[in-house]
């Protein structure tokens, strides 16, 4: 099978315009006959379900949480990028496109990324119209801030709760369609398989998580908006329930998995403490607008941070990357933190942390306030207080969260931070229309692989989720469903539905019948440790080979010895989790295979064997300028397909942020 990305011909800036004006349409009467299933209600899923409902399609939306508003997009903090150039600082569609391609270390598709940049401005307009309360200046216009990997201010934000506000906007639009009967919402439901009939996706099997019953649902098309798979590492910034199950089931039914090893490790998270930690908490990248990252210049320095004088501090990002300083992309910042800690300069009791310090920003803002007030002779303490007030307004909720978790006051003592798993650039392979290799099955948002290459820039996940849901799928879905207008709804008594349901039931019964002695949680933790140690921030061939064998052995042990209490036909969170961990145990192996196969370093994928003399990622463009798309062929068997990446406009070079 050759992969066809279906990128429209023509110059980059007219591809999407041409597509939109020439794609097939479905008339309103036919839309009412066409049923669409949406899995997941984060930014991608909620925006897609709402938009398709508004257009007149019959939509069914599913989420495993108790309400669509809880999807993990809600936790995104810092902001959303858009090429509005409201700051008059040189931004443009091209520049957002270029920054994203470069930030992704030249492993994304030009056509997709340009489209993303193009629709970014519409997203902000749409969200404001919905009532998203973005931060504003005194003149009443929208405010912007900077994010990593860019030199312009194009990030729109709502304090440190941007994801929440955007998701609430999409959720409200979704509920409006539910009220109108265009969308039927299924909460506390989990998709456990897709149903294909005559080579096309025609529905799903879902489990009602309250009653445990299996349900069959027909759809002319199925949209997977089920997020990323960072929880394969056990400890990540993802929500506890975030999982790969929907995507993985689709993968096993023929959807290729793109670049599974491309994982984003976010540089600024609260460090691990103790053995019982269940998740890691992000401190927004927006903090790097004002916070300065440093470690002591002396190895193993045990002094308190405030006792270390300025000249004995190593602001290593500013030192190594003077042009971008603390705002280098995430992969670069994470590796630099690891490098310092590994070299013995880490701080805190674990020595696996660096400082994120606001003291200079506090004084800088304080002096601005003093000037505004005309109080040039204000005392240092007063200036500091004024500065703290400004910092509080910008980042207050993040500082509070830090204090709740660590018990330390970050206005006075620098934050301790360390990188943590945050986002997965890899995902189901999709073409320009967001369709996977299974006809009728689409993947949107973090669930697909398409726009971020080997590293995602900050504030671009929200942009991509909403771009896919609001502005891409409404066109591309119609282009394909136009061929389906004569297909009547298929009865869920069709043998394909019966067979798929049986398969799901057998899988659940198999898990329940193991009746072993070790908890699901314990297996998940063990898998996470293998992944973090050997397929985490730095990888090498030897470690990856070991990891593959260890994961295989762990999977075998899981199927021999996992203990799942309770019954199938009841509310049983342990059973839900067991199914998800079972899928992670397969995905982890594929991630290691992919990382092993890619003999280069790029973006978040850092193979120790491939680095420049000063420790930067060393790409091998002559051999690896392609997307790895893996086809499932049976347990531990995957076939690699390659989609070559053609750069027509941007000229890939060694990324430099110096």
């Amino acid at each position: 099978m050759t992969l066809n990305s279906k990128i429209p011909a023509g110059p980059l800036e007219s591809k999407w315009k041409t597509y939109k004006s020439t794609c097939k349409l479905v008339n309103p009467a036919n839309k009412r006959q066409l049923e669409v299933i949406v899995i997941g209600t984060g930014l991608a899923g909620a925006s897609a379900a709402a938009s398709l409902g508004e257009m007149g399609y019959k939509v069914k939306a599913f989420c495993f949480q108790d309400s669509p508003r809880r999807a993990h997009s809600i936790a995104a903090q810092g902001g959303i990028n858009a090429a509005k150039n409201y700051q008059n600082d040189g931004d443009s569609t091209y520049r957002l496109f270029y920054d994203t391609v470069k930030g992704g270390d030249y492993r994304s598709r030009e056509g997709n990324v340009y489209r993303l940049a193009e629709v970014s401005a519409n997203i902000i307009d749409q969200c404001v119209a919905q009532g998203v309360p973005f931060a504003r200046e005194y003149g009443g216009l929208l405010s912007n801030r900077s994010f990593g990997g860019t030199q312009v201010q194009r990030t729109f934000y709502a304090a440190g709760q941007t994801g929440q506000q955007l998701l609430i906007g999409a959720y409200q639009a979704l509920e409006r369609q539910v009220a109108q009967g265009n969308v039927k919402m299924y909460t506390r439901h989990e998709m456990l398989d897709i149903v294909t009939i005559d080579g096309k996706t025609r529905g799903i099997i879902a489990r009602n998580l309250v009653t445990g019953e299996l349900e069959r649902h027909f759809g002319h098309a199925v949209l997977l908006c089920s997020g990323g798979y960072g929880n394969v590492f056990y400890l990540s910034t993802n929500a506890m329930g975030s999982n790969v199950t929907a995507a993985w089931k689709a993968h096993k039914k023929g959807a290729f998995f793109g670049n599974p090893c491309f994982t984003q490790i976010h540089p600024t998270c609260i460090p691990v403490s103790g053995d019982h930690q269940s998740k890691l908490t992000l401190m927004s990248e927006s903090l790097r607008n004002d916070g300065r990252i440093w470690v002591p210049k002396k190895q193993g320095d045990t002094r308190k941070p405030n006792e270390i004088p300025e000249e004995e501090r190593d602001y290593y990002l500013e030192r190594r990357y003077p042009a971008f300083g603390n705002l280098v992309p995430r992969d670069v910042a994470s590796r630099a933190a690891k490098e310092r800690c590994d070299a013995g300069y880490g701080v805190g009791s674990s020595k696996q942390a660096v400082y994120l310090d606001f003291s200079s920003a506090i004084m800088r803002y304080g002096r601005v306030e003093a000037n505004k007030k005309g109080e040039e002779n204000a005392s240092e303490a007063t200036i500091r207080q004024w500065g703290m007030d400004v910092v509080k307004e910008k980042y207050g909720n993040l500082f509070e969260m830090y204090e709740k978790i660590t018990g330390e006051n970050p206005y006075v003592v620098p934050m301790r931070i360390y990188p943590a798993v945050h986002y997965t650039m890899g995902g189901l392979w999709v073409d320009y229309e967001l369709m996977t290799t299974v006809p009728g099955l689409y993947a949107l948002g973090e669930a697909n692989f398409s726009d971020h290459g080997a590293n995602r820039l900050g504030a671009s996940a929200l942009m991509q989720g909403l771009a896919d849901g609001y502005f891409v799928i409404p066109y591309t879905l119609g282009n394909n469903l136009a061929n389906d207008i004569s297909v009547k709804a298929i009865s869920t008594d069709h043998p394909a539905f019966v067979a798929a349901e049986k398969e799901v039931r057998d899988r659940i019964e198999r898990l329940m019948n193991i009746k072993g002695t070790e908890s699901v949680e314990s297996f998940h933790k063990r898998l996470g440790k293998i992944m973090w140690d050997k397929c985490g921030m730095a990888r090498n061939a030897q470690g990856l080979k070991e990891a593959i064998e260890e994961i295989k052995a762990l999977r075998k042990e899981f199927y021999a010895n996992v203990r799942i209490p309770g019954e199938i036909n009841e509310f049983n969170p342990e059973l839900d989790k067991a199914g998800r961990v079972a899928d992670f145990l397969e995905l982890g192996e594929l991630m290691c295979m992919d990382a092993l196969d890619r003999n280069e370093s790029c973006g978040g994928h850092f193979r120790e064997e491939y680095q420049t003399p000063d420790g930067e990622a060393l790409r091998q463009d002559d051999q690896y300028m392609f997307v790895s798309a893996w086809e499932y062929k049976g347990e531990s068997q995957y076939e690699l397909h390659k989609e070559a990446l053609d750069y027509e406009v941007v000229h890939p070079s060694q990324r430099s942020y110096k």
Binding site: D66, S67, H72, V128, G131, G140, K279, K404
Partner: protein, 257 residues
């Protein structure tokens, strides 16, 4: 900060499903670190129960960073426990000391029926939003985002109301199980913005009607909702909701406003 370990007695509400009677069950947990979050302490307890071949305690949780609104425990008589403006998942064990007894119940309100143990059904909140908690604008209809300046203080006030996470602590804390703080937060968020203005009357009336239909109690200005709200949603929003509602009713055009 000094860390320490503690042993605790937990009295937790157990209920098999919404039809069966519930009861308290007592558990001992040992070696809990002061660094753990409250839910991590529950993870330890559940691991212990699985090891003993008993059924773990069901509780809702997801993001564990205080924003998704899923966690919902009533701890020693307080929604989300003792910390000010904190969700259950952000409460940390350094609050407790060795030998403490902690009583944990689900949200208690007729409009939030128990599904199992500490898990309740809050779909009534979604239905209230369906009744009008939105601005009717289809995708693609929007004008340029800066076409309409909004005074900063209004945008900030709207944001403060929009910070509601829909967890239901306000209902759980209220002796009347009233949902007024939740409804008022949404009505305020949208009414304070010019984009929300065209529908403000019908929105207030429809959402109140749905709230009553769901069986939530009346507001008697006790203020427990505001005191326990993890996001600090202010009672002023309830005053605003009352103004919006009365304005809509007396203007007589609430049905076609």
């Amino acid at each position: 900060m000094e860390h320490y370990n503690m042993n605790l007695t937990l009295k937790v509400w157990r209920q098999k499903n919404k039809n069966e009677r519930g009861r308290f069950e007592t558990f001992q947990v040992k070696g809990i670190s002061s660094e753990m979050s409250f839910l991590e302490m529950f993870d330890v307890l559940n691991e212990q129960l699985v090891a003993e071949n008993k059924e773990p305690i069901a509780f809702d949780h997801d993001c564990r960073e205080g924003i998704c609104g899923m966690c919902s425990m009533y701890i020693n008589g307080r929604a989300h426990g003792p910390w000010h403006q904190t969700t259950t998942c952000q409460l940390h064990m350094r609050e407790y000391k060795d030998g403490d007894t902690i009583v944990v119940e689900p949200w208690r309100a007729n409009s939030f029926p128990v599904i199992k143990d500490l898990v309740v059904d809050r779909s009534s909140f979604d239905r209230i939003i369906e009744a009008g908690g939105y601005i009717s604008v289809n995708t693609g209809n929007a004008v340029d985002a800066n076409a309409m300046p909004i005074e900063k203080h209004k945008a900030d006030e709207s944001f403060a109301a929009a910070a509601c996470i829909g967890c239901g602590a306000c209902v759980a804390a209220c002796p009347n199980a009233s949902a007024m703080l939740f409804v008022s937060a949404k009505v305020s968020h949208l009414a304070l913005l010019p984009q929300g203005d065209p529908e403000r009357k019908i929105r207030a009336v429809s959402m109140i009607e749905q709230m009553d239909k769901e069986g939530f109690g009346s507001c008697t200005n006790i203020g427990a909702c505001e005191a326990e709200c993890p996001k600090g949603i202010s009672l002023e929003n309830i005053a605003r909701l009352n103004r919006e509602y009365i304005g809509a009713i007396f203007s007589g055009d609430s049905q076609n406003a």
